[in-house]
């Protein structure tokens, strides 16, 4: 055992050194991208920053490189931190809680736990078997996709930290309020019967026994996986955004979807439900639309409905929930999102 412990220590030291080098490189890159694209687009290629083309080309390259760097850095840090939690541990933390505190905790853990909505079914059954109240389970399942690290990172990169923080706060509030309502309605009868009969053996906690080297490797793999999956959507989204930025009339949306139009928010939410495609392509697009007068609350509501209410997740959940409960679930979450959108339009 002595030898393996020393080996693990050496691996951890090496991993920390690599992370330190990567962090320094990241900071250096983040500081040089703006002067670099200024130099290349305006200096070497000779485009004029005052023209539409010059502005759009610079916007495209600068935004793509900034967002990619932000995603790599933030996803890495979040994944390493999340590796200390697991669905297993969350289940133990939520088991036997009372509905009120459990619901709040469920939403918070939904954000913090490493979770893919493809595990929604086993997680749901596991939670029920561990005596987690339905409202806490629902809060977890709503908050987890809504407060998505990729979506929040894009909001931060394109709009700044205030809006990103607002989005996280609003997402948690929608999850807690919607889940509390779902809990009050006594909907347990709409949960498929076999869920309550399934035997769940004492679980294994995959977060145990990991060293720093393992956690950094998980973070690195996650960054690689996410970047490989999203880069085409990011390029298309920011490309369209750059075109809108340069060529669409300034007040296009101020007229049809400004803060004064009461139908804008519900319409945006309705549009967002079937659009589960890819939030990475959608956010740069709405960012460009926002500059053309689309109201901020409408925009946030649209994003929330894109990420929180997705058809594939509903189809998965159908295996454990009866259609009535899924319909009520969608209606309540959508109503919560509409409420948040209207509220933000009124205050922002």
């Amino acid at each position: 055992m002595q030898a393996t412990a020393a080996g693990a220590q050496r691996a951890d030291a090496r991993a920390w050194a690599l992370v330190a080098v990567a962090t320094a490189t990241w900071i250096a890159l983040y500081r040089t991208i703006l002067p670099f694209w200024d130099w290349l687009v305006y200096g070497v290629i000779g485009l004029d920053p005052a023209t539409r083309l010059g502005g759009a080309v610079h916007f495209f390259f600068y935004d793509v490189s900034k967002i990619l760097l932000l995603l790599a850095g933030i996803v890495f840090v979040v994944t390493v931190l999340r590796s200390f939690l697991s669905v297993e541990r969350t289940r133990a933390l939520l088991g036997g809680r009372r509905a009120g505190l459990g619901t709040v905790l469920g939403a918070l853990l939904g954000v913090a736990t490493p979770f893919c909505s493809c595990s929604a079914v086993p997680a749901f059954i596991g939670f029920v078997a561990a005596g987690v109240p339905l409202s806490a389970t629902m809060a977890f399942l709503i908050a987890s996709p809504m407060v998505d690290v990729v979506a929040v990172t894009l909001l931060y990169g394109l709009f700044g930290w205030r809006l990103a923080a607002l989005y996280v706060g609003a997402g948690l509030v929608v999850a807690i309020v919607a889940a509390t309502l779902l809990g009050r309605l006594r909907l347990e009868r709409f949960v498929e019967g076999f869920v309550f009969e399934t035997q769940v053996r004492a679980g294994v906690d995959p977060s145990l026994g990991l060293g720093w080297a393992d956690r950094f490797a998980i973070g690195r793999d996650e960054v690689g996986g996410i970047l490989r999956r999203i880069w085409p959507f990011l390029l298309v989204g920011i490309g369209l955004g750059a075109a809108i930025h340069g060529w669409l009339p300034e007040d296009l949306f101020a007229r049809i979807a400004g803060p004064d139009n009461p139908f804008a928010v519900p319409l945006a939410v309705l549009l967002g439900v079937p659009l589960y495609t890819n939030v990475v392509g959608v956010i740069p697009l709405v960012a460009a639309l926002q500059a053309k007068g689309l109201a901020m609350g409408t925009l946030l509501a649209f994003m929330m409905s894109v990420v929180a209410l997705s058809l594939p997740e509903m189809i998965l959940l159908r295996r454990v929930l009866k259609p009535q409960l899924i319909a009520i679930f969608v209606a309540i979450v959508a109503a919560g999102i509409v409420g948040v959108g209207i509220l933000f339009n009124a205050v922002l």
């Binding site: 669905v87 297993e88 289940r91 893919c116 079914v121 997680a123 939670f127 035997q199 769940v200």
Partner: protein
């Protein structure tokens, strides 16, 4: 050796199954890789995060997809 990949057919489960086959090749081992998609059977292993890797009825990994090298190390340890 009995190797099972637990998960309801999502992309990550297929990646895990592929990595397990690569790991078996690496380690020069032969074993049948069985896919378990039945939710009750998955829950029977106490797994709440798929995909999961079960070797000789012991859960070695759940909720993530390790690389073939990492899986090979786990398989040798069994």
């Amino acid at each position: 050796m009995n190797v099972k990949v637990l998960g309801s057919g999502c992309a990550n489960c297929q990646r895990l199954a592929a990595n397990v086959r690569l790991a078996l090749d690496h380690a020069g081992m032969t074993a049948e890789v069985e896919k378990v998609e039945d939710i009750a059977a998955i829950m029977g292993y106490g797994v709440t995060a798929t995909p999961a890797l079960v070797v000789d009825e012991r859960v070695l990994v759940s909720g993530r997809v390790p690389s073939p090298t990492q899986i090979a190390a786990l398989l040798r340890g069994v």
